[in-house]
């Protein structure tokens, strides 16, 4: 019994760590503070006057202004979706660092998945063809193997 328990102990430990991590994530996700929301929204918006930097990363005056505007909107009780929509309305979907999962944005999400599926299918077909080829030996193969084993031909 002790040996069996000892075998399960690492798994139980792993399960406990997973459960605690999940609990922490869920607890934090339930009620992000206003500053967390400002940070998260700023991370999702492109700084309009920078080269591929988020509003959260950039130290430019425009990024400062957008962070201040987001903070004002959060304080005024606007939802994350409303704030994001206001920026899309103002700048276009270009302002979002994560492409939307609709319209043209779908291609960005779908193309890697399609490539993965097609690649996996190709790989599976190649493996199957290789396995099938291995199973069938030609008469020449049989004769060669037989000769090596010292069996008489024919």
């Amino acid at each position: 019994v002790i040996g069996r328990l000892r075998a399960w102990l690492p798994w139980a430990g792993l399960l406990a760590v997973l459960a605690v991590s999940l609990a922490v994530v869920v607890a934090r996700g339930d009620d992000p503070g206003p500053q967390d929301r400002v940070e998260a929204l700023a991370r999702g918006l492109r700084c309009p006057t920078c080269q591929n930097e988020s509003v959260a990363e950039s130290r430019s005056a425009t990024a400062d202004a957008i962070r201040a505007d987001i903070a004002r909107r959060v304080e005024a009780g606007e939802s994350d979706a409303t704030i994001e929509r206001a920026y899309v309305d103002r700048y276009g979907e270009w302002i979002l660092l994560t492409p939307p999962d609709r319209g043209v944005g779908l291609v960005v999400w779908g193309l890697p998945v399609a490539v993965l599926v097609v690649g996996a299918a190709g790989l599976a077909a190649a493996v199957r063809r290789g396995a099938a080829a291995r199973r069938t030996a030609t008469p020449d193969d049989e004769e060669l193997v037989g000769g090596l084993r010292g069996e008489p031909p024919g």
Partner: protein, 181 residues
């Protein structure tokens, strides 16, 4: 060409084609077009301290055609645009239905800005934009950027980059309904 090679070539070709279409569709998402999204929409309200020590509030300009130009003293294209702005201001400054406001964004040194404005004879009202609120409300992506607002308060003209005097006159004529925008 063997079948797997042909299939791979077709696959790669299809991916390139899809990406080309996606990129082509994204052309109008270029940031330089961003502020143009305001065309046909009500202009954002703006207010702030001005260079002369007073304040400017767009609500006080209601009923006028208002030309708004985002600029600053360290921006080379803004300096290139300055003579056209000067000529435009001189031509229309006394017209009662016209107002012009330069909004300075990303000011690095207020003293340098004042020196530049004095030396270059920037005579039109210039507003500071503390916190960059007006620059964000107008969805600007740099400077110079210009907006023409008609008497109803609707944005009817937009120019990204230095405007010529002809550009400015055309925007004003469109705002007054003299020509199609």
């Amino acid at each position: 060409m063997k079948r797997p090679t042909r299939l791979a070539a077709v696959g790669v070709g299809a991916c390139v084609l899809v990406l080309a279409v996606v990129l082509a569709l994204q052309v109008d998402n270029d940031p330089s077009f961003a502020s143009g999204r305001l065309l046909g929409r009500p202009a954002p309200v703006f207010a702030g301290p001005d260079l002369a020590g007073g304040t400017i509030d767009s609500r006080d300009l209601a009923g006028k055609v208002v030309f708004v130009n985002f600029w600053n003293d360290w921006c080379i294209p803004c300096r290139q645009e300055a003579p056209a702005l000067q000529a435009f201001w001189e031509a229309h400054r006394d017209e009662p239905d016209f107002a012009m406001v330069g909004i300075v964004r990303d000011v690095r040194s207020e003293r340098d800005l004042r020196d530049y404005a004095f030396e270059e004879g920037v005579a039109w009202p210039v507003m500071f934009d503390p916190g960059g609120r007006a620059a964000v409300d107008f969805a600007t992506t740099g400077q110079p950027e210009s907006f023409m607002i008609d008497a109803r308060g609707v944005v009817v003209g937009f120019q990204s980059g230095p405007a010529s005097l002809d550009d400015l006159e055309a925007m004003l004529a469109a705002a007054r309904g003299e020509i199609e925008p």
